[in-house]
């Protein structure tokens, strides 16, 4: 089987890779680009652990073919922090202890970033519905929801000040 050559932008940097037609974007990110933040939980779009932002839309990387990424802009959890400085969402997840084993956390962070990109001032209900496709089997969801609301509030204040 001949490989497919793909050029995309991942976290602001050009990323070129070759893949098989059957490989998912999740396979490509993890096995070809070394970006192992996105996790494979179910592989069928049910758990959200592989959430990435593809052309400004939140998607499950397991439900996208790697070949579909040609020309696409992809954001993963690896692009959230700015060098050593954590993204407010990452900081608030730590402050609120919104994680235990951490497998779901990259997906939650990316999904929450996508929410705040679309809606900087979400209600608790909006957070819960937006994150309904991200499953956590450790903490329950309250701490995660509180961390997201707190991060959104801090980001609004920072934007206001700027």
């Amino acid at each position: 089987m001949s490989k497919i050559t793909v050029s995309a932008t991942v976290n602001g940097d050009a990323a070129d890779f070759v893949c098989d037609a059957t490989e998912t974007l999740l396979d490509v990110l993890r096995d070809r680009l070394g970006l192992t933040g996105a996790k494979e939980g179910c592989g069928t779009g049910d758990c959200g652990a592989c959430s990435v932002i593809l052309n400004d839309r939140l998607v499950c990387a397991c439900l996208v073919l790697g070949a579909e990424a040609q020309g696409a802009k992809i954001e993963t959890v690896e692009g959230l922090a700015n060098g050593e400085t954590l993204h407010p969402l990452q900081r608030k997840f730590i402050e609120h202890a919104a994680l235990q084993c951490g497998v779901c956390t990259p997906g939650f962070l990316v999904a929450a970033k996508s929410l705040i990109d679309h809606n900087p001032d979400p209600t608790e209900e909006q957070v819960r519905y937006w994150l309904a496709g991200n499953l956590c089997r450790c903490t329950g969801y309250d701490k995660i929801v509180r961390a997201v609301l707190d991060a959104a509030a801090e980001m609004r204040e920072a934007n206001h000040a700027a």
């Binding site: 089987m1 497919i4 037609a21 059957t22 998912t24 592989g43 069928t44 779009g45 049910d46 959200g48 959430s51 593809l54 839309r57 939140l58 998607v59 499950c60 397991c62 439900l63 996208v64 073919l65 070949a67 579909e68 040609q70 999904a111 996508s114 929410l115 519905y129 937006w130 994150l131 309904a132 496709g133 991200n134």
Partner: protein, 286 residues
């Protein structure tokens, strides 16, 4: 498996028509990739339609909307004019999977996946939507309800695909609504559903209605007697009761792990009534 990205719909048709093995069309991929992962299908060819510009567009046409086959549910939900004209269609879309799934899932995919429980289909039918089929012998438009043949099967011939879905303009004083029953509030599949459209005249008399039930037969069910029960009336209590009974009578469900036959028949009537009541409220508001 070969992966192709044709630049025109004609090229896409040419590819799938010429394939001697199994060909599949890829738009949002939220059903196709799951089937690939599960080994349910092993296609020789996957044709991705998203490089064809028209498949990604929502265009105004004759007062209504032409929805390209690869337009995501998320994009449709953000479309203000569509939301205002057909809130019931948007209600159906909002219930499909998660935010992640809606970032990719399409109306055409939901239709062609041919699940009797597809959430976006009942209100599309109630709105009088049509599918534009393109194939080796040209294009034709058919009512959306004629696309699914039964669970997981469509009436599309070899080499044919759905290029777009046309949702007509909503007449004045038209309201629509979609409701479903699921054991959970989110991320579930309809046990029973109802999508309805109701049109009133200036005096409040119902002049047109379409009551469509999901998940109570192998394909969506158009409950004609239920619509007749309210057309020509002021949709009073007597008409609503008759409509509810007719909706239940139109349901021919199976027993399965998600619900019994008796439960589905009863709830089909209840949901049809609640959806009509909500649609009436909307019709009276505009």
């Amino acid at each position: 498996m070969r992966y192709e990205t044709p630049a025109t719909i004609e090229a896409a048709v040419g590819l799938i028509a010429a394939e001697t093995g199994i060909a599949r069309v890829l738009s949002g991929g939220t059903d196709l990739l799951v089937q690939l992962k599960a080994g349910m299908i092993e296609p020789d060819l996957v044709v991705d339609l998203k490089r064809i510009a028209a498949t990604r567009e929502i265009t105004a046409e004759a007062g209504g909307f032409r929805i390209g086959s690869a337009v995501s549910a998320a994009s449709l939900r953000e479309h203000k004019a569509l939301r205002a004209a057909w809130p019931g269609i948007i209600e159906g879309l909002k219930l499909i999977g998660s935010t992640q799934v809606q970032g990719r899932a399409t109306l055409t995919g939901n239709l062609c996946n041919a699940s009797p429980a597809a959430d976006s289909v009942p209100c599309l039918v109630a709105a009088g939507a049509s599918a534009r089929i393109v194939g080796p012998s040209g294009k034709r438009d058919i009512p959306v309800q004629d696309v699914p043949a039964g669970p997981g099967r469509t009436n599309l011939a070899k080499g044919e695909l759905v290029e777009s879905i046309f949702i007509p303009a909503a007449a004045a004083h038209t309201g629509s609504c979609y409701l479903r029953f699921t054991p959970r509030t989110e991320m579930d599949i309809a046990v029973v559903s109802a999508g309805v459209s109701v049109t009133l005249d200036a005096s409040g008399t119902c002049t047109a209605a379409c009551i469509v039930l999901g998940a109570v037969a192998a394909r969506v069910t158009i409950a004609e007697e239920a619509a007749k029960a309210i057309i020509g009336t002021k949709v009073d209590e007597a008409a609503l009761a008759k409509m509810q009974a007719a909706a239940s009578a139109a349901a021919t469900p199976i027993d399965d792990k998600r619900g019994t036959k008796e439960f589905r028949i009863e709830v089909a009537g209840v949901l049809a009534r609640r959806a009509v009541e909500k649609a009436l409220e909307r019709a009276r508001g505009k």
